[in-house]
Symmetry: C2
Subunit: 216 residues, 2 copies
Amino acid sequence: MVRKHLPKPSSIPEPTLVRLTIYARSLRDALGDGQTVISSDDLAMRAGVNAAKVRKDLSHMGSFGRRGVGYDAALLLETIVQAMGQTKERSYVIVGAGKLGSALLGYNGFHGKGFMAVGAFDTDPSKIGRSIGGITVMPVDELERFVMAEGVDIGIVTVPAPAAQKITDTLVRGGVKAILNFAPTVVVVPGCILCRHVELSSELEVLAHYLNSQGD
Amino acid sequence: MVRKHLPKPSSIPEPTLVRLTIYARSLRDALGDGQTVISSDDLAMRAGVNAAKVRKDLSHMGSFGRRGVGYDAALLLETIVQAMGQTKERSYVIVGAGKLGSALLGYNGFHGKGFMAVGAFDTDPSKIGRSIGGITVMPVDELERFVMAEGVDIGIVTVPAPAAQKITDTLVRGGVKAILNFAPTVVVVPGCILCRHVELSSELEVLAHYLNSQGD
């Protein structure tokens, strides 16, 4: 098994990127179960994706696996992690320390992937000063100064919809390079800033769509 | 502006389905701002997607919009909602009433989209009996019986990773048609059950990937 080359990161299609993160999760699970070699069928089953799509996605990683043998799970995981570019540590702040913000601060899926929470912010005096997942909640008035002083990479927005654009603007003024918006409204950013909108209901809606198309 | 036909739901590619939910959100925002006609450029900006992709995605909805005029926002929204198949109400239970489960129970983005929380479950005695978002937390021992008796459509799994497969199996025995798994591990279901895995860190990883590919 030889890894021939790593493609330039930007050459990987976005849906593949999202699935790569799930393959990485599946490979970590497999390795945790003591499985060191994994077939594309097995990886497909673990990831909930069809095997042909797995093979096509992994073709973006260069030449991999051997027919009838499968993939070296640890090597494939390392390659995916490198291709995703998770080797450089990225700092983030979470703005909005409500239930979702608290869930994200406590979510162990971010740890060990090169993401580091450095601050949490809220306007609610009863939340300010509290520690969530080891991070102390600060007043939103200090957000811009903090982001600038600390050189924060990513701002995660979990405030109510009406406040989302204002908070986004503050994060952008502070100098973040990217916004991840969980607020149930879209926000607008300057072209030089990356922004992804997470619609938590998307996955439910996609499931419902498939149920309908099955005639259920 | 004439809607020529609605395609069969299953003919829409999955990445388009996910983006359609974000266009719907953007259209609701636009209508809320009093904007009744929207150009593909404006919709693209609101949704954080490039305009060519918006036009291509909307081509799946049939023939729409007029050059130089734009889309009737309300009609386009209605068409997307119909194409997504959100007209039939779907019931769901949430298993795991921790921070994430509570955030999802309280998340207003699910309401008004045809999804109805009918139950929440946990093993923690201190959580059982508490009301979250108007739903009383029940003991997990009652999950299978409840799902079967109520004919629940969808099970949302927000338990810790080690418990995820067992809970999924219980939901499947109870007769759910679909599983939405937020636990940071993959779960396996019989082929007749729909299952989607939500990796909350996916979006952060994709952002980091793009930051890296920009050389940031």
